[in-house]
Amino acid sequence: MGDVVLTNISKTYNDGKTVAVDDVSFSVNKGELFGLIGPDGAGKTSIFRILTTLLIPDGGTASVSGSDVVKDYKTIRRNIGYMPGKFSLYQDLTVEENLNFFATLFDTSIAANYDLVKEIYVQLEPFKKRRAAKLSGGMKQKLALCCALIHKPEVLFLDEPTTGVDAVSRKEFWEMLYRLKEQGITILVSTPYMDEATLCERIALIQGGKIMSIDTPDNIIGQYPKKMFAVRAEKMSTLLKELREYDPIESCFAFGEYHHVTFKAENGNNAEALNTYLNQKGYEQVHVKQTSATIEDCFIRQMNE
């Protein structure tokens, strides 16, 4: 039995004109680190708000730790931690005042759950007299996490905690999540960054209010139906156009320093043929190699299906 269970949840806005969540079902196991991966407007925030009892779904049922999100909202509110997408602490209060406020709100104190927040709190401590508005993006994120954790929640909901945060702070943030997971807290996290998907135990790829697939990142990558090739040459932007016009190629997308390419037919000599073709076209330093698909490849493929 899952710790967080959604069954056929749907939610619309503007009198049904805008469909935000479309018949979504999934469940998250106790102690799991589960990721909701999708771009802005995919419906991630609506799902989080339904689970945190802030919105009533139009259809379907959902429960958190066995409590129904509509009927037992009071029980749920006691047992969960929630970090909304927007930085939602008091900018005019200091780090310490924010923490104390949220601790008291949940009828606890910093001291009582110090173990849980210790690692994050020591990083914040030098700035405890500083107003939250004056913190950097990464520090704000840590403070918000600290505030969401202060009452030792059973389930933690983190809505896009790493959006707009630089790569180093993002990495640190994920390291903190791993340590929290070890304490047995169920964590639901959403992110628009596809590269963060592999950091979760299980993920749901979501787009346009619909779940495209749910599995472990490895399984999702493993299910990618085609062999993936990475292509590089001197002029990457013209190469991209050229590749799209090359008939045997099924799809071609820019991926960092390489272009990711799949072929319509899986022949053993696809790579060599492409290499020759590009050399004939006059490209220099052509490099074609087989590679493994990434979550982003999977997302793009499922989006286009």
């Binding site: 999708g38 771009p39 802005d40 407007g41 995919a42 030098p126 700035f127 500083r130 004056k134 913190l135 950097s136 993006g137 990464g138 520090m139 959006t163 707009g164 945060v165 630089d166 790569a167 180093v168 702070s169 990495k171 628009p192 960054y193 596809m194 590269d195 787009q207 990457m236 932007s237 991209l240 997308f253 820019a254 991926f255 960092g256 320093e257 982003e296 997302f299 793009i300 989006m303 286009n304």
Partner: protein
Amino acid sequence: MADIAISTNKLTKRFGDFVATNEITFDVQQGEIFGFLGANGAGKTTAMRMLCGLSVPSSGEATIAGYDIYKQTEEIKKHIGYMSQKFSLYEDLNVIENIRFFGGIYGLSGKEIKEKSNTLINQLGLQHEAKKLVGSLPLGWKQKLAFSVAILHEPKIVFLDEPTGGVDPVTRRQFWDLIYAAADRGITIFVTTHYMDEAEYCNRISMMVDGVIKALDTPRNLKKQFSAASMDEVFFELARGAQRKAD
């Protein structure tokens, strides 16, 4: 030197005791895609504001499209485009109205605006959405439209502040197709991003740490220099030592 779009020499901005950007010196070629990277609080925004003529430097020199950053800010504003993730277009105006408005701001004639909006709408495949309010378009479309509007007046340089944040992976790539097309037409692209794969799409990248430019080169050379497999690693290598985390 006609093909230098941006040139800075020891450009510095101080806020009281705090040195937000400390003597940054670099050149960007006309038509180049220049990635401006750095950790949160490294001073990117401050530097970008100075380059757009929105904030007066404390010391140092810079020319943008050949115009002096102190004396010719009005000229600079005529020759640059700007687009950020936060503010791009008026959500309560429709697509055509937005194009007309921004075209008008940059002094395009009615005829020019008409021609350009037609090409733009066809290019983006927005024929059916032309009369729709921008607020009702998906984020990815908004961002593509915002970029096209930012280069409507054929600026020499366009500044893009995290233009693809939160955009889906397909649209993100379409967005970069637009960037490439603009660069091919000779428009200089100055872009910040948190997506490290996008750093690879740039011709050259600068990495800011604690208000200084720690590294500046092509992605390939940077990876070689730091013997890293990806730009991610280069970024970590450089940003890990940052002191200015809380600011």
